[in-house]
Symmetry: C2
Subunit: 343 residues, 2 copies
C-alpha cells in the first residue's frame, strides 16, 4: 500500500510499504477512506532531523473495516469507523476514567511498527477499544465533520471540558487554527455566554464567529491582553490555549481573571511553564493536556449527526494521498487552514 | 509600641515604632495577643538585602480590638479577633468569589505603611472585611489553635480544597512543615481515605500521623516517588505541594497519577514550572496558590471550637516578642517546627 513517510524536515514522501495484516487477535485492518493533516504534524515537518527510518505520518483518519482478529467483537468487516488519534484498550483503569491517552496498552500512530493515518490502510491494535462505528455511508457528506472526531474537535472539546466551561461563562480562546476554532465550537456547546477568540487571520476568525465566537481580538501581546480584559470586564473566567507556544501561555495568563483556569491543548513547544510567584499570588489553575478523543466521541458524534455543529468546515483544501506533501506545504505556509487527504 | 523589623538577611530586630492609630473610618486598631513566625517569613530572613527601610514582619496574629473607625460595624472594642494573613474589603467581586487575596482594596501586612503581625499592636484596614471575631476569652487554651486560622491551617486547607480532595481519595502531601501538616488535617477533614505524607523529620511526620496521615515516606527523589507509587497503586489522585521548591514540584509530578491534580501552596522559590511535553501528555493539572484565609475561617473555626482538630500542635516553641530573633533562628535551623510569639 501507499503511505506517507517523513524523512526529515520538509521531506514528506508517499511510498510503497507493507500491507497491514492482522497480527494479534485484538487487531483490525481498515481501508482508509479519509484522513487529514494535523497542526501537530507540522512540528516534525518543521524540525525533524534526517533519518533512514522514516516516521509514518498521520493520526486523524476514518475508514472501512476489512478484516478483524478472532477476539474482536464490536466491529465487523464493512463497518465505517472513526479512529481516535491514539489507540487504547478501553478497559484499563485509565481508560475507565476516560483518559485513554494514558492507556497502559495504548500508544500513538506511526511509530514502533504501528501504521500512520495518512496511508491507504492501517492495522488497528485493540480494535474493540479503539474504533467507534459511524452510522453513515462511506459517501456521506458528513464524513469531513465526522473525521474531526478523530482529533481536532475532541482536542478543542478537551480544552473546554478540562477548563470546566459551563453555561454563562466568559471564555477566551487563544489561537485561530483548527483547534482554536474547534474550542469555540466546544465552548458554545457547553453554554459559554461570551466567547472571545484571539487570532489575526480574518478568514479564520470569521469562521470562528460563525462557530460561536462573540468577539474577536486580533492584537497580540500587551495590546491583545488589554483588549480582552476590557471586553471581559477584567479578564476571562476560563482561557483555552490552543497554540502550544510559550508566548500563548503568557498571553493566557494575561487575559485570565485571578482565580481563573487556563487549559492548554496546544502541543507544548516549550520546556517549562513561565508561571512563578506572580501567577501563584493570582491563584491561576493550569489544566488540559493531550485529548482522550475516545472518551468524547460518543458525546460529540450526535451533535454532528443532528447537524448542530459543522466542525468539518475547518477543512479548506483537499489533496489526494500522492499529493500529501503539497498539503503539508499549504498548511505550513498558512495557505490552508486544514487539509483533507483522500487515499 | 514594639515591633519586629527585618533589616537584612539574618538581622531581625525588635524596635520602637509609632503606635497605630485609626487613619480611615474603616480601620480598627488591635492590641496583639498572639502571633507566630511563618515558614514564608524565612525566605526574606534567608535572603533579604540590607535596607534602611526595614520591613515590618509577621502576618499571622490575633488580638483584641482597642479602637474602631466610624464606619466599622462588625467588631467593637474588647472583641477578640483573628486576622487573616492579607487584609481585604470582603465586598469586591474577588472577595465575593472567595478570593480575598485578590481583593481590589486588599494587600499584605508589613509593607507600604501597613503594620506587621509580630508587634504589640496593629492598624487593620477594612476591619469589617478583614477581621473575624473569636468566641472565646483572651486566655483560652484554644488560642494557639485559633491562631492557625490566620494562615497555616487555611493554607493547608486551600491545597486540599483547590485540589478537590473528596471522600475516598488518595492524597499525597509533600512537605512535613507546618503547612504540610495542616494539609494533612485538611485532607482528612475532606474525607481522604489514604493520606501519604512525604517528609523526613520523624518528630514532624509522627505528628502528621496523629493528624491523619496513613503512611509516611521519608525518601526523596526517585526513591520517594517509587515508594509512593507503590503505596498508592500507581500514583496519587491529588498531591498537595507544601514546600515551594522546584524539586518538590518535580516530586509532585512523579507521585501523581496521570490525569491527577497537583495543588501548590508553598510560596514559589522558582521562576517557572518545569512541566513541558511529558506532563502535557499525562494531563496533569496544576492548581493552588496563595490561600484566601478569610474565605475558609468561618468553615474551619467550628472544627477547632468543637475539638475535632488541634492544628495548634504545630507550635513547639514560644518566645516573647523581644526574643523573636531567636524564634527565627530556631525555625531557620530547624530546631523548631513553628514558633509562637507573645507580644
Amino acid at each position: 500500500m501507499r503511505a506517507t513517510l517523513l524523512y526529515q524536515a520538509g521531506d514528506v514522501r508517499v511510498e510503497d510499504v507493507d500491507d497491514p495484516k492482522i497480527q494479534n487477535p485484538t487487531d483490525a485492518v481498515i481501508r482508509t477512506v479519509l484522513a487529514c493533516v494535523c497542526g501537530s504534524d507540522l512540528w516534525p515537518y518543521k524540525s525533524a532531523p534526517r533519518t533512514d527510518n522514516p516516521r509514518h505520518m498521520g493520526h486523524e483518519f476514518l475508514g472501512v473495516v476489512e478484516d478483524i482478529g478472532s477476539e474482536v467483537t464490536t466491529v465487523k468487516p464493512g463497518d465505517l469507523v472513526v479512529v481516535p488519534f491514539t489507540y487504547s484498550d478501553n478497559t484499563c483503569e485509565y481508560c475507565r476514567r476516560g483518559l485513554q491517552t494514558s492507556c497502559v496498552h495504548g500508544g500513538p500512530w506511526g511509530v514502533g511498527g504501528i501504521d500512520g493515518g495518512q496511508g491507504q490502510a492501517a492495522r488497528i491494535p485493540y480494535a474493540d477499544g479503539t474504533l467507534i462505528t459511524l452510522p453513515v455511508a462511506e459517501d456521506s457528506e458528513l464524513l469531513p465533520d465526522l473525521l474531526t472526531l478523530s482529533d481536532v474537535l475532541c482536542t478543542g472539546y478537551h480544552a473546554a471540558h478540562t477548563a470546566g466551561v459551563a453555561p454563562g461563562d466568559t471564555v477566551t480562546v487563544i489561537g485561530d487554527g483548527a483547534v482554536g476554532l474547534s474550542a469555540v465550537i466546544a465552548a458554545k456547546l457547553r453554554g459559554a455566554e461570551r466567547i472571545v477568540l484571539m487570532g489575526r487571520h480574518t478568514a479564520r476568525t470569521d469562521l470562528g464567529r460563525e462557530f460561536g465566537a462573540t468577539d474577536v481580538v486580533a492584537d497580540r501581546g500587551e495590546d491583545g491582553v488589554a483588549a480582552v480584559r476590557e471586553l471581559t470586564g477584567g479578564g476571562a473566567d476560563r482561557v483555552l490555549e490552543c497554540v502550544g507556544l510559550e508566548a500563548a501561555l503568557v498571553q493566557a495568563a494575561g487575559v485570565v481573571r485571578d482565580g481563573g483556569v487556563i487549559s492548554r491543548v496546544g502541543a507544548p513547544q516549550y520546556p517549562a511553564i513561565p508561571f512563578g510567584f506572580g501567577e501563584f499570588m493570582r491563584n491561576l489553575t493550569l489544566t488540559g493536556g493531550v485529548a482522550p478523543s475516545r472518551a468524547y466521541i460518543p458525546e460529540l458524534m450526535p451533535h454532528i449527526l443532528n447537524g448542530d455543529i459543522h466542525p468539518g468546515r475547518v477543512f479548506d483544501r483537499t489533496v489526494d494521498l500522492d499529493d500529501v506533501a503539497e498539503g503539508y506545504r499549504l498548511m505550513n505556509d498558512r495557505e490552508a487552514l486544514k487539509v483533507l487527504v483522500r487515499p
